[in-house]
Every structure is written in structure tokens, then in C-alpha cells.
């Protein structure tokens, strides 16, 4: 068949894609889709996302070999399940989960990401609260949860879907994340829990979980309540233990009942894996756990998703044993150093105020904004950087600081020092250009 004619035919078919009737050659199918996807962005210059975009060849090889495995099928794939078990053990120990009492051992599960983990944790808190209220004959109609306005969208989803009142502590010019006192002030008898974030997505700050813990402990004593803290360590969970191990934020604190972390952020695995850990079985009400007989084996299930790929969990295990603690320490310190260096360079331009915490006291990212008003704003800077290929997002701060704009650069494993230098140079160059333009031209470009 004439190749040109064949190609034309297939091209037409694709355009009227809802009428694809015939089977086509697999090489053609592959090529058509590959070419389509060539228009996707290049992750290397994407400084916006926390999600890992680079893994070693061996890791990819391992994933390729296991792409067909359905994680939930323990009967068929017991070793994959075993590897997940090991990851849970390792991560729980990383978070200093209590191990002294066999009746109260920590438990956890893998999830598709932190969103699922957060929904599960919230559900567990809600159910526990409902059960204890019912036992006392009290109403269960108005549960609430306390969190910072800087929380990630997964929390908004959890409260909206699970019909819980979200009590948000607003951000102020002095504190861009949750104030412990204000948080505990919002706690009442209907509070199912307090959410603390280790690694705020806006500015990378680690919230003061210890202070929240102390204040909450006092308030619970006074009132006879039992309100727990859930730490959303989506990003911080794989950074803080390695960079600032003395920081107490995990199960070492008495009120912390559950923690979630994303494997696909600083867990250095591709998108699709997260972890949820509970302090002990008493924080995971039994009626949420489904005992099922799945394809011949009995198992307990407490997740939103059921069938999912096993490759990502296997990749997480690979990362954990490949790097070990030493490896993580090295990488995370390097990232922290790079972030600090970038912050220095940006400060040196004289245009910016750095909002994030350096020196390892926050995530390895740089959140910054213009220190004085200019005739252009952070969004203009972002747009110009975009023209040079860099994706540096600009956005407005959370409630009540919606007027505050900022830019954020996330330092990931593939953001080397040399790339950092290139970025710094480009920022300087963009600033020069914008300084020279007048307001009208800038507006025209918006």
C-alpha cells in the first residue's frame, strides 16, 4: 500500500476520533500517540512541581517489568505485597512509630498519593469521633477539623466530600502558616482532629507541631476531650528526618495519631504512590475495615482505591534500599544547600524578599516576592521566565493574604547547582527587561 496514502487515511481517522472502527497496525498506533505526546512539556525545567520526574534506569527497568501487576491481588503477587509491607515498616520507623507494646503497634498502608491518604486519615478521625460521641449519647451532626488556610487542596476535598466543617486558621503577614495558639483556640467538642502541615506548599514551612501538641494536650486535659493531630507530611516526611532529625514532629509527640507522606515527592518515586501510617489500631475504627475474600485470599482492605499498579510501590522500595539513610541525607542536604544558594542569589538582586525558611528549617524550595512595589508583578516575572522555558509558578497566598503574590521554585533532585545558576542569571535578566519597560507595555503583554 502506498505509504503516503496509508498515512493520510490514518490521519483522517484520528481527527474523527469518535468514529474509530477499524483495527490499525500497532507500530502506527504507537507512533501516532508518541508524536502527539511530544507536545507535552519537558519536566526538567518544571520548577513548579514537587513530584519526582527523574528515576534511575534500574528503577525504570524494575517498573517496566512490573507494570502489569495488580497490586491488590495478593494471591497472585505475594512478593509485591511483601515489599509494600517492608516499605510500611521502614516508613513507620522513620517516623518513630511506637513499637514497645505489641497490642498497640503502628499500622499503615500504601495509597495512590497523599490525597487518598488524607481522606483515609480524615475518615478514621471522623469515625472515631462519631463512635465516642455515640457512646456518650451526644450528637454527631457537626464534626469539624482544624487546619491552616495554607493547606493543600486535598484537605478541602476531604472536608467537602466527608461533610466536615473545615475550620481554617488564616495566614497573617507575620505568620504564613498555621499559628498553634489560634489553631487550638478553634478546637471544641466537635473537633475530630487538628491537621498540621510539615512542609506548607506555599512557602515550605514546617508548622510547629510540637507547640500544637503541647497546647492541645493542655486543652484536652482541661475539657476531657481526646483530639488528635494528623500531620500532613506529604513533602516534609522524607526531608525533615534526614535534614533536621532533632525536630520533633512525628509520633514522638503524644497527640499525633496519623501521618501521611507522598512517595512521589521527596520519596523520589514517580507519581502514583503515597503512604498513610496510624499510631495504633485504636485510631483506625474497625468498621471502616473491610475483610474480604479476594480471589482466594482473605485480606483486610481500608483504602479508597482497590486495583492499582504495583510498579510504583516496588519503585519506592527500590529507592529506600538503594539510597539508605545516608543516601537520603546526602540528597536532601544537597537540595537544601542548593535552595539556600538560590535564595542568596535572589536576595542579592535587591528586588526580592525571601519568604521561605532556609538552612533546612523548611523544605528545599525558595518562595519569594518583590520586596517593594513595582510597575510589574510576580505574574509578569513568571510569564517572562516561561518564555525562556522555565516553569516558575506565581500565585496568591492563602486566606487572608490573597493580595500577597509570590513565586516559588521547588528544588528537586534533578535541579543541579549549575541549573540553579542558569535560573538565577535568567531571573536577573528578566528583571532588567521589566525594569526598562513601562507600565503600558507590560499590561499589553498580560
Amino acid at each position: 500500500m502506498n505509504y503516503e496514502k496509508k498515512r493520510e487515511y490514518y490521519v483522517t481517522s484520528v481527527i474523527t476520533y469518535s468514529h474509530l472502527y477499524i483495527t490499525i497496525n500497532k507500530a502506527v498506533a504507537y507512533r501516532l500517540i508518541k508524536d502527539d505526546l511530544a507536545l507535552d512539556g519537558n519536566p526538567a525545567l518544571n520548577l513548579a512541581t514537587f513530584v519526582t520526574t527523574y528515576m534511575e534506569d534500574e528503577a525504570e527497568k524494575l517498573m517496566a517489568e512490573n507494570l502489569s501487576k495488580n497490586f491488590i491481588d495478593y494471591e497472585e503477587y505475594p512478593q509485591s505485597a511483601e515489599l509494600c509491607n517492608r516499605c510500611v515498616n521502614m516508613i513507620a520507623r522513620l517516623f518513630n512509630a511506637p513499637m514497645d507494646n505489641p497490642c498497640f503497634e503502628s499500622l499503615g498502608c500504601s495509597t495512590v498519593g497523599s490525597s487518598e491518604a488524607i481522606i483515609l486519615a480524615t475518615l478514621a478521625m471522623k469515625r472515631k469521633w462519631q463512635l465516642s460521641r455515640k457512646a456518650k449519647g451526644l450528637s454527631t451532626e457537626n464534626p469539624n477539623i482544624v487546619m491552616g488556610a495554607n493547606c493543600q487542596v486535598a484537605w478541602h476535598k476531604a472536608v467537602r466530600y466527608l461533610e466536615i466543617e473545615g475550620r481554617e486558621v488564616e495566614c497573617t503577614a507575620d505568620l504564613l502558616y498555621m499559628d498553634p495558639q489560634k489553631a487550638v483556640d478553634l478546637v471544641d467538642e466537635n473537633t475530630i482532629g487538628v491537621c498540621a502541615i510539615l512542609g506548607s506548599t506555599y512557602t515550605g514551612h514546617y508548622e510547629d507541631v510540637k507547640a500544637i501538641n503541647t497546647l492541645l494536650e493542655e486543652k484536652c486535659e482541661e475539657n476531657g476531650w481526646d483530639v488528635g493531630i494528623h500531620v500532613d507530611a506529604a513533602s516534609g516526611g522524607f526531608v525533615a528526618p534526614f535534614v533536621v532529625p532533632e525536630l520533633e514532629w512525628d509520633f514522638r509527640l503524644s497527640r499525633v495519631v496519623s501521618i501521611n507522606v507522598s512517595g512521589h515527592k521527596y520519596g523520589l518515586t514517580y507519581a502514583g504512590v503515597g503512604w498513610a501510617i496510624w499510631r495504633s489500631p485504636e485510631y483506625l475504627p474497625k468498621d471502616l475495615i473491610f475483610n474480604i475474600n479476594y480471589l482466594g485470599s482473605d485480606q483486610a482492605s481500608f483504602t479508597v482505591n482497590f486495583s492499582k499498579g504495583a510498579a510504583h510501590v516496588i519503585a519506592q522500595y527500590y529507592v529506600l534500599i538503594r539510597l539508605g539513610r545516608r543516601g537520603f541525607q546526602k540528597i536532601m542536604s544537597n537540595l537544601t544547600d542548593t535552595a539556600d544558594h538560590l535564595a542568596e542569589r535572589l536576595k542579592a538582586t535587591g528586588h526580592f524578599e525571601i519568604l521561605s525558611e532556609g538552612g533546612g528549617r523548611g523544605l528545599p524550595l525558595v518562595a519569594f516576592r518583590l520586596s517593594t512595589p513595582h510597575h510589574y508583578d510576580e505574574f509578569d516575572i513568571a510569564r517572562r521566565l516561561r518564555q525562556r522555558g522555565w516553569i516558575v509558578p506565581a500565585y496568591t497566598m492563602a486566606h487572608e493574604l490573597e493580595h500577597m503574590k509570590l513565586l516559588r521554585v521547588v528544588v528537586r533532585e534533578d535541579f543541579s547547582r549549575s541549573r540553579c545558576e542558569l535560573l538565577a542569571r535568567d531571573v536577573v535578566s528578566v528583571l532588567k527587561t521589566l525594569d526598562l519597560l513601562d507600565e503600558k507595555s507590560i499590561e499589553a503583554h498580560r
Binding site: L83, M99, E105, L107, L123, D287, L288, I289, G296, S307
Partner: protein, 528 residues
């Protein structure tokens, strides 16, 4: 997934420390098999202190995973396990892509849009809106949540109470449907299935259970127990009559996890999808008869008005604005791309061939089981349309009445799933034989065919179930049939009851007697 408990390091045999082996071995450190892990335990409970070489880490894990099963003989799972090498290649090239990062990966998002259009067209939608999910579990939760919100809005408008929603489904429902109910505080009204309802939803009883607090009815297109398609049209008609009588409008959500990619191709005349006005949403699993690897599902709503706005999140994520309604956020895009590959590669023609082949093979298998004389087939896929029940055998005698003009038998719309049980006669002659023993025996040959009780009660009929997938060829099914028959014969000839008991013990879970589910310890317990 399993809630993993800690293993205390103390109770394990003491790990040999991660110190260098004796000096002689130092030169061998660069070889994967001579690295320190050859003589020390693989890390299991603690993150190791030191890093390992990439090759070592890869090899260790690769070898461990060799102990995983090979899916070829797994007749238990609906989930697909084989894709073409080109599909694998495409998926691996896109393994790093995050589906929630719409700004970074606009081409991937365009493909997502195309998939939604294709599936919408497949299901006769006019104006559907939908999203990819990680599987049918997530899709069902999204569908159920939308039903709940719509009902709440209606109740609020009428000034009524919104605290006691309920949802109706057959008790043959897969665990995800009950999870939805329990997670989102909706009362699940499970309608017991029966012989007359073909072990699927009894539509009359379903309507009887409706009231003004009913948010909707889950109808399953492809029951996981037996493969039957529940009667969507029939239910819709009854609900129309109900609405006439009471004024209450009850929507239907079709759980087409398996059937969604079978019905449109193998039974194009079956009316079950958006053609029925009462159907407000449909979910399906891409990783079942959508022929993809585990990790992709789809949900579509009839139109935007069926998706309450308050559930949709406007996200300012990484620089752009997007609209999203999912439970998971960051997740792999590669499985969705795999789905698109299937659409392009196979087309309607290809999917039709696969579905029909599966059905033809499954029917042959079912007939084979009946011909052996040992089994009754509880599924009805090989019986002519309208003929149900194992007493009918393959219903050939009735076939003449239903043969269409083309002279071809019109079969019952059904999944290519064969659920079967021992005949009463066999059980009378061999009372010592437990059906689970057949499953255990053929396991020794590598086949995974589960045995479990049908709903409603745990002590009712038990079935063995074989799911016919694309990777289960006619040859393999013939082998399976031979092995099943041989196992059954062997068991029949075992006079000694004790020996039979011994054969029956469930090797995997270590339970003796029947393959029963552990007694209720205050958790939900259901075969799935």
C-alpha cells in the same frame, strides 16, 4: 490493601550488621551477587544506613519478585495482565508523567479528553462529562457522592432532612459499593439476590425498598459472582412507574466495571447506557475488559447538570486553572495513555473481536462443564436469551423458540464469566467431597480458580468461578476443563473421608473444613 503492622526488629533473628565482609571479599563488592547483601539480610524493617549500588538494588528486588505468580493461569481475576510490547514501550516512556499536572502535560490531557469522548460515544451519551480514575472504586465513590449531593440539594429545597440518605443495591455488589456507603455515611440497603433474580439485583424488591431518602440505585452490569447483567431497562421502567405514583425521582448509577467494555461490543442491541434517561452516571474499569494494566478506570455523567458544582474544585495548580473532581490527585498518566493506545490500535472492530472471542470460549467451556456430568453452570452466558437457571442446562431445547431470523442463537447478554457448582447428584453420591477441594487440587497444577459462596448467606450455594480474559485462549480453557474434570473424578473416588478432608484443607489460609470466611470480629466480611 492490607493494613500492615510493624514487625518488631527485636523478634527477628539479629541482622548481621552492614559492615564490610572480611577483607578477602572486598574485591568482590562491585558484583551484584557478591555485594554485602549476599551474606546479610535484605532490608525489611528499617531503612538501611548505607546506600547500595543501583545494579545491586535492582537485582535483589528483581529476584525477589520472581516469586510472584505468573498471571497466565490466573482465572480468578478480571484485571488484565497483558498488553502489546508497543503499549508497554509507550507506557514506560510516559511513566514519569503526573496526570494531575495539566499545565505541564497538555498533550496528555488532550488524550484524556479524547478518551472521555470515545467512551461517551460508546455509551450513547449526548453531552457527557467525565474523568479518568484509578479504578472503579474511585469512580463509584465519585458517582455515589454526586448522587448524594443532588439528593441533598433536592431535600434542602423542600425543607427536608438531609441526614438519612440511603442507597440501594443487590447484595452481590462488589466491595467498593458498600465502601462508598460506609465511608460517606449513606445507609446501604442491600437487596438479597435469589435464584429467581439470577443472583443479581431483584428489580421489584429494589423498587420496594425505595423511599424519599433514596439517593439512587446502583445497578451492576456484570455481577462479579456470576457475570449476569442486571436489568437496567427493567428497573428504569419500574422507577418511572414509581415516580408516577409517588412523585419521587430516583436516578440510576450503572456499575459497568466489567460490562462497560463488553456490552457495547458484544451486545450492541442491549439498552443499558445513557440511552435510558434515568441513568445519570456510569463507571467502568479500563483495566478489566478495557484491556489495560491495573490502574485506570472511568466515570461519566450524563451531562454537567448531574455533577453538582460544589463537588468540582477549581484548582490553581502550578500556574494554571483547572477543574477537577477526583479523589486521587497526583497519579500516573501512563495507564490512561495505555487505554488510548487500545482505542486507537483496536478500534471498535478489535474490541468486538476480543469480547466475542472471550464469550465464545467461555460458552464452550460452560457447555464442556455441563457435558462432563459433574457440574451445573450457574452463569447463563451460554443459554439463549431469556432462558435462565442451571436446570435448563444449555437450554438447547428452548433455543429453537428464540432463534432469530439469521438462524443464530441470541445468547443472554452476559460477561464471559463461568460460575459453576457440583451437581446435586454428585453431592449425593459423594457427600464427603467439599467443592473447595477442586480449587485446591487444580492449584497444584498452577490454576487459580476460587471457590466461594453466593450471596445472600454464607451457607448457601458455593460456586467456582472462571473469568475468561483475552489471555485465556481456547487451548488453555480446554486444558483447564480437563484438569477440573480430573480433579473432580479423583475426589469422587476417594472413599476415605479423612483423606478427602486432608485434601480439602485450605493451604493458603490454613483453615480446615470448608473454605469459610473467618467469623465476624466486628469487621465487614464479604467475598469479593
Amino acid at each position: 490493601m492490607v493494613l500492615h503492622k510493624h514487625v518488631k526488629s527485636k523478634i527477628l533473628p539479629k541482622n548481621r550488621q552492614h559492615t564490610d565482609a572480611s577483607k578477602e571479599n572486598q574485591s568482590l563488592h562491585s558484583l551484584a551477587y557478591s555485594s554485602r547483601y549476599a551474606t546479610t539480610d535484605v532490608p525489611k524493617t528499617e531503612i538501611p544506613q548505607k546506600p547500595a549500588g543501583s545494579t545491586t538494588a535492582y537485582q535483589l528486588i528483581h529476584d525477589e519478585l520472581d516469586l510472584d505468580g505468573t498471571p497466565a493461569m490466573n482465572c480468578a481475576s478480571f484485571v488484565h495482565t497483558w498488553m502489546e510490547p508497543e503499549a508497554d514501550k509507550l507506557m514506560m516512556e510516559n511513566i514519569s508523567k503526573n496526570m494531575s499536572d495539566q499545565d505541564e502535560y497538555p498533550a496528555t490531557m488532550r488524550i484524556h479528553g479524547r478518551c472521555i469522548s470515545m467512551i461517551g460515544n460508546m455509551w450513547n451519551a449526548e453531552n457527557a462529562i467525565g474523568t479518568a480514575t484509578t479504578g472503579s472504586s474511585e469512580a463509584i465513590m465519585l458517582g455515589g457522592l454526586a448522587l448524594k449531593k443532588r439528593w441533598q440539594a433536592r431535600q434542602k429545597k423542600a425543607g427536608k432532612d438531609t441526614y438519612h440518605p440511603n442507597i440501594i443495591m443487590g447484595n452481590n455488589a462488589q466491595v467498593a459499593l458498600e465502601k462508598f456507603a460506609r465511608f460517606f455515611d449513606v445507609e446501604a440497603r442491600l437487596i438479597p439476590v435469589s435464584d429467581e433474580s439470577h443472583y443479581a439485583l431483584d428489580i421489584k424488591k429494589a423498587v420496594e425498598a425505595c423511599d424519599e431518602n433514596t439517593i439512587g440505585i446502583f445497578v451492576i452490569l456484570g455481577s462479579t459472582y456470576t457475570g449476569h447483567f442486571e436489568d437496567v431497562k427493567g428497573l428504569s421502567d419500574l422507577l418511572d412507574a414509581y415516580q408516577e405514583k409517588t412523585g419521587i425521582d430516583i436516578p440510576i448509577h450503572v456499575d459497568a466495571a466489567s460490562g462497560g467494555f463488553v456490552a457495547p461490543f458484544a451486545f450492541p442491541n442491549l439498552v443499558w447506557d445513557f440511552k435510558i434517561p434515568r441513568v445519570s452516571s456510569i463507571n467502568t474499569s479500563g483495566h478489566k475488559y478495557g484491556l489495560c494494566y491495573a490502574g485506570i478506570g472511568w466515570i461519566l455523567w450524563k451531562s454537567e447538570e448531574y455533577l453538582p458544582k460544589e463537588l468540582i474544585f477549581e484548582l490553581h495548580y502550578l500556574g494554571g486553572t483547572e477543574y477537577s473532581y477526583t479523589i486521587n490527585f497526583s497519579r500516573p498518566a501512563c495507564f490512561m495513555i495505555g487505554q488510548y493506545y487500545n482505542f486507537l490500535r483496536l478500534g471498535v472492530e478489535g474490541f468486538t473481536n476480543v469480547a466475542n472471542n472471550d464469550l465464545i470460549n467461555a460458552r464452550e467451556f460452560a457447555k464442556g462443564l455441563e457435558d462432563s456430568g459433574y457440574f451445573d453452570v450457574v452463569s447463563d452466558l451460554h443459554r439463549p436469551k431469556g432462558v435462565f437457571g442451571w436446570k435448563e442446562k444449555s437450554g438447547i431445547s428452548k433455543a429453537k423458540e428464540v432463534v432469530s431470523k439469521a438462524g443464530v442463537i441470541d445468547y443472554n447478554p452476559h460477561l464471559p464469566v463461568v460460575s459453576f457448582k457440583l451437581t446435586d447428584e454428585y453431592k449425593k453420591n459423594c457427600p464427603h467431597v467439599k467443592q473447595g477441594a477442586i480449587s485446591t487440587l487444580i492449584r497444584t497444577k498452577g490454576w487459580i480458580v476460587p471457590n466461594y459462596p453466593l450471596p445472600p448467606d454464607a451457607d448457601s450455594i458455593e460456586i467456582l468461578r472462571v473469568v475468561v480474559r483475552e489471555s485465556l485462549s481456547k487451548d488453555m480453557l480446554t486444558l483447564l476443563l480437563e484438569d477440573i474434570v480430573e480433579a473432580t473424578k479423583r475426589l469422587a473416588n476417594v472413599e476415605n473421608a479423612v483423606e478427602s478432608f486432608y485434601l480439602t484443607s485450605n493451604i493458603h489460609v490454613g483453615i480446615g473444613k470448608d473454605a469459610e470466611i473467618p467469623s465476624n470480629n466486628n469487621t465487614y466480611s464479604r467475598p469479593c
